[in-house]
Structure formats: structure tokens, C-alpha cells
Symmetry: C2
Subunit: 222 residues, 2 copies
């Protein structure tokens, strides 16, 4: 067995990318726009997703894939909103990868899904390294995490198409320097779509939903 | 190259455990008590550690090792409190491991350190799989993360000797069910030391510091 680990990692990532590409091929064959939401544990992925589902109900046919180390709490929440949802329990693995997603897709009737919402495992590091085949990768940051997170987790901030800063209703209770945070995001990912929101109060969600709708409509019009 | 990945992972973890044991041997030869703090990004590792350092200044000779994906923000904060600190930039890796720690130890004069404080990478999953050789592993949870985290990240909660629940000053602004959280912790790790604290206001820190002091004193008296 080889003691050099780097080539093995490269091989795994290469294989992952090929399967991610195959996943996107499946999505495109059924005209399904796939969005991958990533975040730290407790940033509010599920709350933002439920708000998204509620706002877009009637407009798109939706389904969900929920990645978690354990439990089906998140998929249950999605299902209780009338959305077909598949749970992937990673069994300790710190991210979703393209193979896991590929295994979940046959459980959904993608022909009848316009918008597939993927909730990644709560983690600011590992998911950034594994493409899934999604058309859009979105990071949900949150005020309680602190304003220094773009600086400390650059790969995640660099790889996404949009950042939602959740829990802005809590800004009065935190020493959160918005300029410092924005500057970090801007250096890593210039011109990135940025939405300060509160999934709790609903503040700021309209702008985000409008932007997301534009992305989905553009795709479906292709 | 083998296509079976499980044996490789087992080998890596086996090697890690051996080096962790060697690290503990080094600590024991210099009578240095090593504490490994783990947490999700933004739970308040650095704030709790700085409170710890301030409370124990004069009582123990201390040093720090800070793990981060990028930046030296945390080590700088520790150093500004007069504590020798070494930063380990993992370069994208999602945890500290025993080899990384082993490489940092020669940079500290452990003969003159009673208490070594290790700040792991912000991540609720991966650090739980890699022993470092520390005498005590502590998890810092936080109110904004939500009360369901023990259920969703069981391995981390199962592997530690104590849980600090930080940011309790924010309880009025969150729907955080303390009984549900405690029940999750208790099922995974019965009888675990549990300290609700606020690194911001200082509330609850006395009990935690008393407990930590007991652990250090017991070790130094051996």
C-alpha cells in the first residue's frame, strides 16, 4: 500500500469531479436546476431553505436532498412542508460528495422537479472540496459566527456564487463589523452576490428570493 | 493503487494514534497538562480560551497551539495576552492531527509549561476522529448553533470530557430548548461535565475554571 497520500487524494477528487459532471448531465436532461446550500453548523441552512420553499411554492416544482452526519431531522422538516425529500446520512463523513448525491437521485422523480435544493453537511471546510454537480453553490453565513470567518475559511468563501448573511436580527447583540466581513468576502470573491437576511423575521429575504428566481428562470428558459 | 479506501483510512488513523501517544509521552516527561478545545466555527473557542488564560495567569505557566485553515488571528490574540503561542495553518485540512501537533511542539519550551492550550480547527466533525495526545478534550457549543447539535454531531459529543455551552447571554433571543440539548448530551455521554457560560459577560465561568483547575492540579500532583 502506498505511503504517499497526495496522489490518492488527487485521484479521489478527480473521480468525484467526473461523477459531479454526470450528476449535472442528469439534471440537465430533466431540466432540473440544482442549488447546493453550505454552511457552518447552526448558521440556519434549514431555516433559510424552508423560507425558500415557502416563497417559491406554486412557482416551481421542488424537491430536496439533505446531507447530515446523523438523524433525519432536516429532511423531516422539508417533508412536512410538502416537498419530497431524501436524507443522506453520511455516517460520519464531513461533507456530501458527488457519489452520495448520485445514489440519492434515483429516489426522486426529477422529471417533475424544476428546483432541487441540496442541504450539505454543516461544515465550513470539507464541502468546499467536493463538487456535487449543482448549478449554484450558496453559502449561508450567520452573524453569531463572527465577522472574521471569510478570512479563516477562504476556500469556502472563494468557491460560492452567493453569500447569505443570516440572523441579522441579532446584530444589536454582537460586535459584528459588517465592513470587515464584506471586505473579507470582496477580496476573496469580488462582486459576489451578497444578501443580509433574517430567516426568523423575514428581513432581506425578498431580494434573495428575487435573485434566486432570476437564476432558476434563466436556466429553465434555456 | 488499491481501490478499497477503508484500509487506508484505518492505517492513517492507526498511525495518528501512535503519534498521539508519543505526544502524550512528551507532555508527561515535561509535566505539561494538554487541553484540546474543539468547536464549530464561531462558537467562541478563542474567547473562552482568552478568559481561561486570564483566569489562570499567575497560577500556571501556559502556552498555546492554534490550529486554523488560514490566518494567524487566534495565535496573535493569545500572544497579545502574554502567552507563547504557535500557529498551525493546516492549509485547508479540516482538523488538527497528532503529526501536525508533534511538529509544533519543538517550538515551545514545554519544560516551562504547566498547561498547554490547544485550539483545534473550527469543525464539529473531523477533529473528533483525530486524537492529539491531549489529556483533556473539551467541546465548546454555543446557543446560536441551536439545541439539536448533540443529535446531529454525535461523535463529537461522545468523545469529549466536558461541554461548555457558550453565549448563554443570548438565550432570550433564541428558541433554545435547554432540556432538549441536555437530554441529547446525556444520552451520548452520561454524566459529562457541563458548564453553561458566557465568555462575553463572564457568567458561569467560575464553575468551569474551578473544574479545570482541579483537573490540572490532580495531574501536576501525580
Amino acid at each position: 500500500m502506498s505511503t504517499r497520500t497526495i496522489p490518492v487524494v488527487e485521484n479521489i477528487l478527480g473521480a468525484n469531479d467526473r461523477i459531479a459532471q454526470a450528476n449535472q448531465g442528469i439534471f440537465d436532461s430533466t431540466r432540473t436546476f440544482a442549488v447546493n446550500f453550505m454552511a457552518s453548523p447552526g448558521a440556519g441552512k434549514t431555516s433559510v431553505i424552508l423560507r425558500t420553499v415557502q416563497a417559491l411554492q406554486g412557482r416551481y416544482r421542488m424537491a430536496g436532498v439533505d446531507g447530515d452526519v446523523a438523524t433525519t431531522i432536516d429532511a423531516d422538516r422539508m417533508a412536512s412542508n410538502g416537498i419530497p425529500a431524501v436524507q443522506i446520512n453520511t455516517g460520519g463523513t464531513c461533507h456530501l460528495d458527488a457519489v452520495m448525491l448520485s445514489g440519492a437521485l434515483p429516489k426522486l422523480n426529477l422529471d417533475e422537479v424544476d428546483l432541487l435544493i441540496i442541504e450539505n453537511v454543516g461544515n465550513l471546510i470539507c464541502p468546499a472540496s467536493f463538487k456535487l454537480g449543482s448549478h449554484l453553490d450558496v453559502l449561508i453565513a450567520s452573524v453569531p459566527e463572527g465577522d472574521d470567518k471569510p478570512y479563516k475559511y477562504p476556500k469556502m468563501y472563494r468557491g460560492v456564487k452567493a453569500v447569505l448573511l443570516n440572523k441579522i436580527d441579532l446584530l444589536p447583540y454582537f460586535d459584528f463589523d459588517m465592513d470587515y466581513f464584506r471586505k473579507g468576502v470582496e477580496v476573496l470573491n469580488p462582486g459576489l452576490a451578497f444578501f443580509p437576511v433574517s430567516a426568523k423575521t423575514g428581513k432581506g429575504l425578498d431580494d434573495y428570493i428575487r435573485w434566486l428566481t432570476e437564476q432558476v428562470d434563466l436556466y429553465l428558459a434555456l
